[in-house]
């Protein structure tokens, strides 16, 4: 009996022991289940531990001009990198000598690297940028002596290189991504470079290509221990697409040369296609200034320059169109039946819109017909036109507002008012008031043609960009349509957006264009633009003077050539240079001659020289 109880007792103790072992076993299984199956944060931790995802940067797309000449390419630049942990027995003095820096520079830079606020990615084990973007020459010097500096190595990156130092604003520049850009687009990582302005920015997605990644294994000390999975998970980089521009690089460079010492702009468009042949903003600058180590310093200097070289005048500057706008008026008035070619109107030094107030005009014969009004740039002619349309045809339009709205619709149909939509960031709208705006200012019955008479000759409440004026020249050359002016003609092997290939119709009959073109041709032959005659090229144009409340008037010219088969439409603005004929006309004619003949006739070398040497500031 006693034995049996003892036996039972030891039996229960045996079971207790077995249970104890099983409890431990079950405890571990539960714990492992929670670690390995339920919780998946450990996978990420492990990957961020062990995987070094090294970005492989694709080569950025190249940029060619309209003749297939390389404009923008890539050049290797070299970042001097430092791994602090490996800098044992470092000869600081010798290193400073090679790099051409002082010991203080060195220490300052080191302190910056170690400052986690300025350099959030700091680690003693991983490469840190010591000096970014040294030149190939400096790299050569350093390379020879690199073995003497443990912990220092050089990493190659790619920067932009320009065949000719032109079109800096149009092409734009690359810069490090900003905090905002980092947050907006997950593609970028801190320290990446992207297009920050111009075409580089507009076509960033095509140019940048697609980054690749190489997954490396990194041990606990940050040392690289080879490729993960023999590179099977790596992704190759996709190179960026090349761009072809409508710009003629030589014409662009020539235009920048002509505009040296002047402020203003030149826009040249191929009328049939809307491709921009040249787009010059003066003063211009060397695009190499915004590449490399000195970028931020140069950028600061450019942005504080009072001549505003970073202000891209062709698309951002809003000027009153001045007399060039008379062409617009001539077209509308004909289409609306207010003028015919032979409408004769008097002008004796101006147009009196009240008993005492007049819009002045220079002296010319009187009365004149429509082409002559363009040739002589008569102000009074267009004041009569505007009065007839706004005040005297109420039978047709009902009210002045109705008449004005018809007029305004024509103006908008010619690409004024809203921005044209060029493939370039930052294009400004023009200004053409709504009738309701005038209602607000003067009251519904408070205004008539005399109130807003300045707009009939392109002054007053009218503003247009040089691009819009060039576009005006383009659609007159085309006799009735334009394509939205654009810089890029091909992205890789793809054609550009359909929007740039669709013609926009201007609702004016062909024959009315002929009258206007006749006037423009006469302006060049014997009228206001007669200084612009080019031997062997018959071209048409119109001068203008934009009144400038801040100083001397801006000189404007717009035109196209040759007359019969227009290849180039152009607008030229020279700020603060007075009457349009003196500066804008010769510059435009030189541009046209250069583009059509590829050279300047010997008879015109004197004019060219005068243009090149003239400086307005």
């Amino acid at each position: 009996m006693k034995y049996k109880r003892k036996h039972q007792d030891s039996r229960s103790r045996q079971i207790t022991m077995v249970m104890l072992v099983l409890v431990v076993c079950v405890l571990f299984i539960v714990r492992l289940f929670s670690l390995q199956v339920l919780d998946d944060t450990y996978k990420d931790s492990a990957e961020s531990n062990a995987f070094l995802r090294k970005t492989i940067y694709p080569s950025r797309g190249l940029i060619y001009d309209r003749n297939g000449k390389l404009m923008v390419s890539n050049q290797p630049v070299y970042d001097v990198m430092v791994v602090l942990r490996e800098m044992a027995n470092f000869d600081t003095l010798a290193f400073c000598q090679v790099m051409g820096i002082t010991k203080m520079d060195f220490e300052e830079r080191m302190a910056d690297i170690k400052n986690r606020r300025k350099n959030p990615g700091y680690s003693r084990y991983t490469p840190q940028v010591f000096i970014p973007q040294i030149s190939y020459q400096d790299y050569g010097l350093l390379q020879e002596k690199l073995f003497r500096f443990p912990g220092i190595f050089v990493q190659q990156r790619v920067a932009r290189q320009y065949t000719l130092p032109c079109a800096a604003l149009q092409i734009g520049s690359l810069g490090e991504v900003t905090q905002k850009q980092l947050e907006a687009d997950a593609y970028y990582k801190r320290g990446d470079h992207k297009g920050q302005s111009g075409i580089e920015n507009q076509y960033e997605e095509a140019l940048r290509g697609q980054k690749g990644v190489e997954i490396l294994l990194r041990d606990v000390h940050g040392r690289i221990k080879g490729k993960y999975n023999d590179g099977a998970n790596d992704v190759a980089a996709v190179p960026g697409k090349n761009l072809t521009l409508g710009i003629d690089m030589e014409l662009q460079a020539y235009g920048e040369k002509l505009m040296q010492g002047k402020m203003g702009s030149i826009v040249a468009i191929e009328p049939k296609s809307g491709q921009i042949l040249a787009m010059i903003s003066a003063p211009s600058f060397d695009p190499n200034l915004l590449v490399g180590r000195e970028r931020s310093k140069n950028y600061a200097a450019l942005s504080t320059d009072p001549t505003k070289p970073l202000f891209n005048r062709p698309v951002m500057a809003q000027y009153p169109p001045g007399s060039t706008f008379k062409l617009v008026q001539a077209l509308i008035m004909q289409q609306e039946g207010i003028f015919t070619r032979n409408t004769l109107l008097p002008c004796y030094d101006g147009y009196y819109y009240t008993r005492t107030k007049k819009v002045g005009c220079h002296h010319h014969k009187s009365p004149i017909d429509l082409p002559t009004s363009i040739e002589t740039s008569c102000n009074a002619y267009y004041c009569y036109g505007m009065r007839r349309m706004l005040d005297e045809r109420l039978d047709k339009y009902g009210t002045i507002q109705g008449a004005y709205n018809v007029w305004r619709d024509y103006v908008f149909g010619m690409g004024f008012g809203d921005a044209l939509g060029i493939d370039y960031p930052g294009e400004k709208d023009g200004v053409v008031y709504r009738s309701s705006t005038y209602d607000k200012i003067y009251g519904k019955r408070g205004w008539k043609s005399s109130t807003i008479i300045s707009i009939s000759i392109g002054q007053g409440e009218l503003l247009a960009t040089p691009l819009q004026i060039a576009n005006l020249a383009a659609f007159i050359a085309n006799k009735g349509y334009y394509k939205i002016p654009h810089l890029v003609t091909m992205v890789g092997n793809d054609s550009i957006d359909i929007a740039y290939r669709t013609p926009h119709k201007v609702e004016i009959k062909d024959k009315y264009f002929d009258v206007v073109i006749e006037g423009m041709a006469r302006a060049v032959k014997k009228g206001t633009a007669r200084f612009g005659q080019i031997p062997g090229i018959e071209f048409c144009g119109k001068t203008g003077t934009a009144q400038n409340p801040h100083g001397d008037d801006h000189s404007i010219f717009m035109g196209f050539a040759p007359m019969d088969n227009p290849q180039i439409a152009i607008s030229v603005y020279v700020e603060n240079s007075g009457f349009g004929a003196t500066w804008a006309v010769p510059i435009a004619s030189l541009m046209i001659e250069k583009y059509l003949h590829r050279s300047i006739d010997s008879s015109r070398v004197e004019i060219e020289k005068r243009m090149l040497e003239k400086s307005f500031y």
Binding site: M17, L20, R31, Q36, A46, N49, A50, K225
Partner: protein
């Protein structure tokens, strides 16, 4: 001579098979853990896995030698061996070089040996012999005390060598005493002690969220007191079956808590900590009253238990801060979640959990573990070797490994139970207890269940001393088991 012929048949080949499996799996895991992506030779005597191959070879020799020795030998030399081991342990303190503050390694020519690994073996033999002597009874105080001395004498010396982890293993031998008739209450009380210690440490010092005001309440005390009172009621029920006392205890506690709750509502200065203390006090008072009324000592003993709870609670912080070394305190705090220091002391635990956790369900595949290969896990081929298993074989492989190991230990319990001699049985249980302790603490620490105590996973971790020590211990038992029919000693 009949016995001798049967000897090889009597050997438990299943256990040897499990042993071989574990050791081989261990070697492959060590190869994986020390695997270098740039140098992956299978046989490289300079590398850790190459050396382990030598240790394994020598283990086979040891196993054969152990099997060839007559089983009576182990019984006969037990005391002498124990005595020699004690002397060696003491000597080691003085002659061993200082390795990271511990004096536990002896240099023998090219070999380094840790006597503590073999002290377990000597202690097992000695304990088995002593407890199997005729007339031994754990009910005899003198016998119990001597048995405890045999167990804890080497432990104390090993602590003096600054190898606290190895010393703790001896605590596991209390399981042997339990199997041999020691009151299970001792184990329960031991577990309760640990529980109260942890409760007080964990909940008296709750980590504050940023900006949070520290509360004057000591939740550790509240929990400890409440659980203590509940346990005391269980004791009263089990050992006295006195329903009146139970009702009285429940009643006074209800009164104290309701009154305390009302008071706290009107006077927030009356803390729940005080209410819990009051309820502990009135419970003790009730028990004392019942002791005098019924004249039963049992009530007094239960009262003493509550006094113990109070004393332990009050002393826990003090003991923790004064008795434990700083690195031990931090290890415990990390497990309790009181401190989080992923770059410092918590690094090992954090990284080993990342390694195991990143294995997922199926694991990354043999030799494809990145965390262990790239040295993110420290001690990856010794104490933290389970990380490699977890990372490369995933949940499925880890569970399979744990199940096999568990089966191995249960097999040993089965073998121990089939012994006819008390010596063999007690030795067998000692063996199981040691394996269980190593298994529990080692995998517990890498999975974040127990504090980091640097002891190896038997048969898997890299290291000659531990492999040889465990091999000798295991094969001695297999040898004893093979002879179980011959030896009919006093049971």
């Amino acid at each position: 001579m009949r016995h001798r012929e049967n000897k090889w048949k009597m050997i438990d080949w299943l256990t040897i098979g499990l042993y071989a499996m574990l050791v081989l799996f261990g070697w492959f895991t060590i190869y994986a853990a020390s695997y270098d992506f740039e140098n992956s030779a299978w046989i490289d005597m300079g590398a850790r896995h190459g050396k382990q191959l030598m240790w394994i070879g020598f283990s086979v020799v040891l196993a054969v030698v152990v099997m060839l020795i007559d089983s009576k030998f182990y019984n006969n030399v037990a005391y002498v061996f124990y005595a020699l081991m004690i002397v060696l342990l003491i000597l080691t303190i003085f002659i061993a070089p200082d390795i990271k503050g511990s004096h536990s390694w002896l240099r023998l020519g090219p070999l380094q040996i840790q006597p503590a690994e073999f002290a377990k073996y000597a202690t097992l033999l000695c304990l088995a012999k002593f407890m199997s002597t005729y007339g031994f009874s754990l009910q005899n105080r003198r016998n119990l005390l001597l048995a405890l001395c045999i167990v804890f004498l080497p432990a104390v010396i090993i602590i003096a060598q600054s190898e606290t982890g190895s010393a703790l293993v001896f605590v596991a031998l209390m399981l042997v005493l339990f199997r041999e008739g020691m009151n299970g209450l001792v184990l329960v009380l031991g577990a309760l002690c640990a529980l109260f210690f942890i409760l007080v440490l964990r909940y008296n010092n709750l980590p504050l969220a940023p900006g949070e005001q520290p509360t004057p309440e000591l939740y550790g005390f509240i929990l400890a007191f409440v659980i203590g009172i509940l346990v005391s009621m269980v004791f009263v029920h089990l050992y006295t079956r006195d329903k009146a006392c139970l009702r009285a205890m429940a009643g006074v506690n209800a009164v104290v808590w309701v009154a305390g709750g009302v008071l706290h509502y009107f006077y927030p200065a009356v803390l729940y900590t005080w209410i819990a203390a009051a309820s502990l006090g009135v419970t003790m008072l009730t028990l004392v009253v019942f002791m005098f009324v019924t004249r039963r000592k049992t009530f007094g003993v239960v009262t003493l238990f509550l006094v113990g709870v109070l004393a332990l609670s009050l002393c826990a912080d003090y003991a923790f801060n004064k008795v434990l070394a700083p690195h031990q305190q931090i290890r415990i705090k990390i497990v309790l979640g009181l401190e989080d220091d992923p770059q410092g002391a918590g690094y090992n635990v954090r990284q080993s959990q990342i390694a195991i956790g990143s294995g997922g369900v199926m694991g990354k595949g043999y030799l494809n573990g990145t965390q262990t290969k790239l040295n993110y896990v420290p001690e990856q081929d010794t104490d933290f070797i389970f990380c490699t298993i977890g990372e490369e074989h995933g949940f499925v492989g880890s569970v399979l490994f744990i199940v096999v190991y568990t089966f191995f230990m249960i097999r040993l319990i089965y073998l121990a139970e089939r012994q006819r001699s008390a010596f063999s049985r007690i030795y067998g249980y000692g063996l199981v207890s040691v394996f269980l302790f190593h298994f529990f603490i080692n995998i517990g620490m890498v999975t974040g269940i127990t504090p980091v105590i640097g002891i190896p996973l038997p048969f898997i971790s890299y290291g000659g001393s531990s492999l040889w020590g465990f091999t000798i211990m295991l094969f001695t038992f297999i040898r004893l088991d093979a002879n179980r029919m011959e030896v009919l000693q006093h049971s």
